[in-house]
Amino acid sequence: MLIGIDVGGTTTDAVVVDGNMVVKTAYVPTDHDNLLKCLLLALDELVQDIDTGKIERVVLSTTLITNMIAEGKTDPVALVLIPGPGTNPRDYTLGESIILDGAIDFRGKEIDRLKESQIKEAAFKIKAQGLSRVAVVGKFCQRNHSHELKVAEILAFALPGVKIEMGHKVSGQLNFPRRAATTMLTAATKDRYEQFALDMAAALRERKISAPVYILKADGGTLPLDKSVQMPVETIFSGPAASIMGVLALTEPGQSCVVVDIGGTTTDLALILSGKPLLSAKGARVGSLLTHVRAFAVKSVAIGGDSTVAVSGGCLSVGPKRNGPPLCMGGTLPTPTDALRVLGLTKIGDAAKAEKAMQIVAEGLGCTAKEAAQKVVDAVVDKIVFEVNEMFREWEQEPAYRIWEIMKRELLSARSVVGVGGGAPPLVPLVAGRLGIAAIVPEYASVANAIGAAVARPTLTLNLHIDTEKGEFSVAEEGLTGRVSDQKMTPEDAERLARRLLAERAVRLGISEYAGEAEVTYSEVFNMIRGWSTVGRLLDVRMEILAGLLPSWGRC
């Protein structure tokens, strides 16, 4: 049996899945001040009459990191940058930072030395500010770790007990400001996240649940809870990821569809193309910071069942604010839910109150209550349809750097709209109708998120960079480096090396049984020519275990 629990904005949803059957569901209201408590409440309700010995796996998706960042409850961090030549670091929106001399170039060559006295000064400054967490990030330090290591060593010696995170350990992808932001967020959330992980593990022991516990990441993959403390930021936005994995689990494999998750305040949109959820081209935006966190491309639109409906000067507007529950459910102001009730598209709430709500709107518009209801629903559908089309347009317009990428991206279109979330059943058929494609609202749509968490498999990414002229390779994700001796290494050789390194990394992360699922998602080779002869090759390989479902979930 598999357990999936998704802590959402208003409710925490939980399911027990056995094979391809949903055995049990549970809902508890989310308590943002005590996520652990509401997770355990949901769990307790779920396992009341279940043999805990039969539980094979527990997967959690939490808003812990999202909330910490949104509420400013992260720990203060000293940011130490080694930017080298290029952009003035003040042009980045990273907040206050200490800037050090020293530089590494794109090939990993040292082009300017560190100044030890400057690092000691930095230590003095950090001490004076009373900070106990430091993020050290250098430009191109993923291609040569020496500067970050040296700075961390000197700081550790000068500041005993201070925790230091280094950029090359957090991400090896190109983009220095994103790496700086991600490293800073890692340092700022790690301690509290670790505490949560420890408390969770203890609570499960108390309940005699010995099954492995996983956490869901923004890319729809699971990671053992104890390993996830190394990369807490990866668990951000796991809610939308859970819903998308749920849709993947509840619909036919291999299809292309638009995922529409309609809640009270917002509607989340996502794309699944040929059975693969679309990842955002760059990392996720976390608050005001752009990061390297791999996440599904999710577009959040400020419209939902509880959005405020207002008429001003004969003009109707819906959202972006939410004003409590719909009038038909005890609220005070008209909402799209009231409109749906009047049109008979939903059975929830009180019909007379809904009528009254639409009467208010009708007065402003000079029409009947029913006509007003139709206009409100049209406005909501218009907005969602517009945003779905925008999302496709943006995807088509994503930059491409090779001829084949430009030629290949023909207009891929979705065959269906899949609705999940409370607001989906009445609205999704209307959205699909306007887009001229099929509407699907799967059974269990309301707990799709928890199902998604329960049956998601681990994901893993490994970026390998090889420079045969220097005889070196480096792995972006964990600061691993090594030697290569073959000057004429082929892309196939590089892919073999990547596969081996990925398997080793999978072991370290406790997900070795999935290493065989890894595929090459990007591979490039460049001959380095100096004068008129080849002096070496640069090879880059990205190998990934992409988001997917556990084999035991053989639903479709």
């Binding site: 003040r90 794109f106 930059p399 090779r402 490039e524 020519i529």
Partner: protein
């Protein structure tokens, strides 16, 4: 108008054509923009609010035919990579005209400024002229009349010069390393344009070893004042990066900071990358600097690892030579109206020139005779007889007819007659017609 003072983002298209090369070890190969990619991606430039990244598109056949006579046709002369590089400039032109961006930089390869009006093959690493295609597109689709093209590549922009040779509304200004010492061996002060457009082509040959100081002297004392007087609708920049002191194919002493300052002062509306082959030591830094300058960002932190200010100093002789050249070109510019008047007085109804053009990359020799009608009512139609040889055999021959925008009825009728006369003439391989007025293009195969 230059982009100076305008608000909005800088549009950027980065198309490194990582799957296209002239040959595996050629300077124009896959690796050329690799380190530039690493640098600008690592800088996170695309994420900055001042910059908007665009996806390139393919130029259409028509976009190419508006600027070139491709023999025998467009398809035979271009690959997808060429169409994408050219199309990138058009995407940015649309964004500029729609007001989405204040200026734009097409950081693309393959380059184009050595491609002339007639194309039989690759010359100087170029098949089609991205800049000329952009100019013709802007004029046809957005009605711009006066455009200034400033070519800052180390090599003379002879292709662009050829295409706008007779056009008084396109100012083609190129500074470059003296043609006595570098490919393509042209671009001297006395190359000033056709009789109707004299001094709308201006060339500033500079001595090898010219530094930031020399190039900024030319910019401040010649180029910027001329632009003030020419008052173009748009300023476009053929932004080659091979004036850099580390370029393996040339001998100048320009720095990344010098390039960034140039971009800031010139404030072009659109920039198109041309050459630049110091793939590790120059391009990552020069491109970063140009992007920053165009976006109004601080570029003072961009510096080549081995550069120190004051590293290069010009000799007194070089300084005097540059000052002398600037004075000569200034004089030509000031006398532009008299030069045209005098030239036209000495000519009849037609102007002819015969030329031999060498295609270094493809080893082709072309013989050309160009005839322009000196029409009092319009720009005058043009015909070109061309034949290309490779080795001892004729490769292709063609007769080309061009009808200008706003052609008078007499030029239109005569041009049509010329076309009809050469159709089915077995001595000529192909007959091509470029009707810029109606934006229609014909290719006829005489065999």
């Amino acid at each position: 108008m230059s982009s100076k003072g305008k608000s909005g983002k800088t549009g950027l298209i980065f198309f490194p054509a990582f799957d296209w090369a002239i040959s595996p070890t050629h300077p124009e190969r896959e690796e050329r923009l690799l380190y530039t990619r690493d640098q600008i991606f690592e800088e996170g430039l695309m994420d900055l609010p001042q910059i908007a990244e665009y996806k390139p598109r393919l130029a259409e056949k028509k976009d190419v035919a508006r600027a070139h006579f491709c023999v025998p046709d467009v398809e035979s002369q271009v690959t997808k990579a060429h169409l994408i590089a050219a199309g990138s400039t058009l995407t940015l032109a649309d964004a500029l005209e729609k007001g989405e961006i204040r200026n734009g930089f097409a950081l693309v390869r393959p380059p184009g400024h050595h491609s002339m009006r007639v194309v039989h093959g690759n010359r100087g690493f170029c098949n089609i002229n991205n800049m000329a295609i952009l100019v013709e597109y802007l004029r046809t689709n957005y009605g711009h009349k006066r455009i200034a093209v400033i070519d800052t590549d180390v090599h003379h922009g002879d292709g662009t010069q050829d295409i706008f040779w007779h056009d008084p509304d396109v100012l083609c200004l190129s500074f470059h390393q003296d043609g006595h010492t570098l490919y393509p061996g042209s671009g001297f002060v006395n190359e000033m344009g056709g009789p109707q457009a004299l001094a709308r082509t201006l060339n500033i040959p500079l001595p090898p070893g010219t530094t930031d100081e020399g190039i900024h002297y030319v910019l401040d004392n010649l180029i910027l004042p001329i632009l003030d007087e020419f008052k173009p609708d748009l300023i476009l920049n053929s932004a080659g990066q091979d004036n850099h002191y580390t370029d393996p194919l040339a001998n100048m002493r320009f720095s990344a900071n010098g390039y960034a300052r140039l971009s800031e002062k010139l404030a072009p509306d659109l920039c198109v990358l041309e050459g630049g082959y110091a793939v590790e030591t120059a391009l990552p830094y020069v491109n970063t600097g140009i992007i920053q300058a165009m976006a109004g960002l601080d570029y003072s932190h961009v510096k080549e690892p081995d550069y120190v200010p004051g590293r290069f100093v010009q000799t007194g002789g070089m300084v005097r030579e540059i000052e002398h050249t600037v004075a000569q070109v200034q004089k030509i510019w000031e006398q532009r109206d008299e030069l045209v008047k005098d030239a036209l007085e000495g000519l009849g109804d037609f102007y002819r020139r015969k030329r031999r053009i060498f295609y270094d990359t493809d080893m082709i020799n072309e013989n050309q005779e160009e005839v322009v009608r000196l029409c009092p009512d319009c720009a005058g139609y043009m015909t070109i007889s061309t034949s290309a040889e490779r080795g001892y055999g004729i490769l292709n021959s063609a007769f080309c007819v061009s009808i200008p925008r706003s052609a008078c009825s007499s030029c239109r009728d005569d041009a049509k007659e010329e076309y009809e006369e050469h159709v089915d003439d077995k001595r000529i391989g192909y007959v091509l017609m470029q009707d810029k007025d109606k934006d229609r293009f014909k290719f006829y195969d005489n065999s």
